[in-house]
């Protein structure tokens, strides 16, 4: 055994070399973004070289302008509300779908799963004209409700898989003890849902934070812009101030990058849970 380990150690150098190449390949764009954000507009040096001066003005300018704080607030409101509604409606819906597998419920289940595959933009015309008729354009709640509806199937899928794995005898025992369905759910099932709720929070949270396709059409007034819309404004109409735009993009992605670095174990487990049947 000892001999084998020694042997492996020697032949490992190419792995480290390959590892370094792969890491550079995957972080290079973010590196360029950060470098851009710290350069002056007139700096014509290569995008790959770090500036030899310290220039935080791009960031200062953006915060002085203040719009980004409003966009942050909007994104935070949308993300929190969508996650809250998805967890409540999705968690509740999964209980009967996991426990009562009648023909009717299996039909409902397959409708939900089908929606998971639909590209949300394919029914853009329908969604948009619905929102116009209920005055949901340029409101955060319009975007929130649409996002919840499209995110629910994934949420329900995750919760249903998870509840399936909880022994049904627990519910039955509680029923014999006199619990009604509501009590069974809130006392027996709900306390066990913590791990899958973390997964739902992470997966859907990333999706909502990065949402753009519907936000672009629903949120038309600048004061309702979310971060992605704000960034797209910077890039498309910023008078070609790419350094300022890069700084804004840095600010927008910061929260999610930090969350990912700190909680990566959960991010990765969440991805696996969502993809591989439980």
């Amino acid at each position: 055994m000892k001999k084998k380990r020694n042997y492996m150690h020697k032949s490992n150098w190419w792995k480290y070399l390959l590892a370094v190449v792969i890491v550079i390949f995957h972080v290079l764009p973010l590196y360029v973004l950060v470098v851009m954000a710290f350069k002056t507009k007139t700096d014509m040096s290569s995008l790959l070289t770090i500036p030899n001066y310290f220039y935080p003005d791009n960031f200062i300018k953006i915060f002085k302008k203040g719009e980004i704080l409003n966009a942050f607030k909007n994104t935070a409101i949308v993300t929190v509300c969508v996650l809250f509604l998805e967890i409540v409606a999705g968690g509740l819906a999964s209980y009967p779908l996991a426990r009562n597998k009648s023909k009717w419920n299996q039909f409902i289940s397959s409708v939900f799963m089908g929606i998971m595959m639909i590209p949300s933009l394919s029914i853009l015309v329908g969604v948009y004209s619905l929102l116009v008729s209920i005055h949901g354009i340029s409101t955060l709640w319009g975007l929130i409700l649409v996002s919840v509806a499209f995110g629910l199937p994934m949420t329900i899928y995750l919760y249903t898989n998870f509840i399936n794995a909880i022994p049904e005898s627990l519910d039955e025992a509680s029923a014999i003890d006199g619990c009604n369905v509501f009590q069974s759910f809130f006392k027996i099932i709900l306390p066990q849902l913590k791990p899958v709720t973390v997964t739902v929070l992470i997966l859907n949270g990333v999706g909502i934070w990065n949402e753009y396709a519907y936000g672009l059409y629903i949120l038309q007034k600048p004061k309702t812009y979310t971060l992605t819309l704000m960034i797209s404004q910077y890039f498309s109409t910023g008078g070609k101030d790419f350094n300022g735009a890069a700084a804004a993009a840095c600010i927008a992605i910061m929260p999610i990058v930090i969350a990912y670095i700190c909680l990566q174990k959960y991010f990765i487990q969440g991805t696996i849970d969502s993809a591989v049947k439980g």
């Binding site: 995957h26 116009v132 990065n210 990765i268």
Partner: protein, 289 residues
């Protein structure tokens, strides 16, 4: 107990209402609008039967968007699975610091496709772009990367694959860890080389992971939208549109809501059918194994 089960069904009413109202109803509404001629906001519209659908066959821009969508979808799926599996096998060989590498490969998937598109603009731009700088080191003349439609499609397929390969890798890593070590050891004792061990033991056991990774990537790639908006806006001309971006282009730019709805309904059925074919295929394969 029966009454209990009926009570239980009350639980899915909130979700059902939300989905009926914001997905099912808009779907039916889009279906209805697809039979009309309508600019998207005015009061007057008229039913024109299947004209919008007939137009699909004649519209060259639609055909381009359809072909592009297939390239975006299947191209990214192929690349992500090949590289995702290669990365997973590499990281599974457990050298020191392999988890750091995993962290960085997965990182771009956390960032909005839109913002990633803008970041990549710094690479493909003509003046001072990173790509032109790199090819300049080798004495090549600068290239206007996004000026050519087909090349733009390939570049955006590569970007999408690069950005989300981490998801695939993570799925395969989980799959590889489920391959029992003793099978591999037994085969090694029997004299199987490492390729044979991979081909005949690891690969068949990975099939469930392959199934989910392929379907997930297909659905993701066929929906591609953000990167296109950020990087090419569908241009030059209409050469790099995907179906998703063409839908919004026809609705909001061309103000042709009826036609846009028809493209949407087509996209809806197209993706449903592709996803179903692949899901069925893999289910059958798994049963055979």
């Amino acid at each position: 107990m029966k009454k209990r089960k009926r009570m239980l069904n009350l639980f899915y009413i909130p979700a059902l209402i939300l989905i009926l109202f914001f997905v099912v109803y808009p779907l039916l509404e889009a279906f209805r609008i697809s039979f009309t001629q309508w600019n998207g906001y005015s009061q007057d519209y008229k039913y024109i039967g299947f004209s919008n659908y007939a137009k699909l066959f004649k519209d060259e821009n639609f055909r381009t968007a359809f072909i592009n969508t297939i390239i975006y979808g299947f191209g990214s799926t192929l690349l992500q699975n090949v590289f995702g599996l290669a990365y997973a096998v590499f990281l599974n060989s457990r050298f020191r610091g392999h988890s750091v590498v995993r962290t960085f490969i997965y990182l771009p998937a956390m960032i909005s496709g839109l913002i990633m598109g803008y970041i990549i603009y710094f690479f493909v731009m003509y003046n001072h772009g990173v790509f032109n700088e790199i090819i300049g080191w080798f004495g090549a003349a600068p290239v206007d990367w996004m000026a050519d439609g087909p090349r733009g499609v390939i570049i955006m397929t590569l970007i999408n694959s690069w950005q989300f390969v981490g998801i695939c890798m993570v799925i395969y890593l989980a799959g590889l860890q489920n391959v029992p070590q003793m099978y591999l050891e037994a085969a090694e004792i029997d004299g199987a080389n490492s390729w044979q061990r991979f081909r005949h033991i690891t690969f068949p056991l990975l099939l469930p992971s392959i199934a989910s990774a392929v379907v997930l990537n297909l659905i993701g790639g066929l929906k591609l939208y953000d990167v296109i908006v950020a990087l090419s806006g569908g241009g030059p001309g209409f050469t790099t549109h995907s179906l998703a971006s063409y839908i919004s282009n026809q609705y909001f730019k061309a103000q042709n809501a009826g036609y846009s709805a028809a493209v949407g309904i087509f996209t809806f059925f197209f993706i449903m059918i592709v996803a179903n074919i692949f899901t069925r295929y893999f289910n059958k394969k798994e049963v055979e194994m």
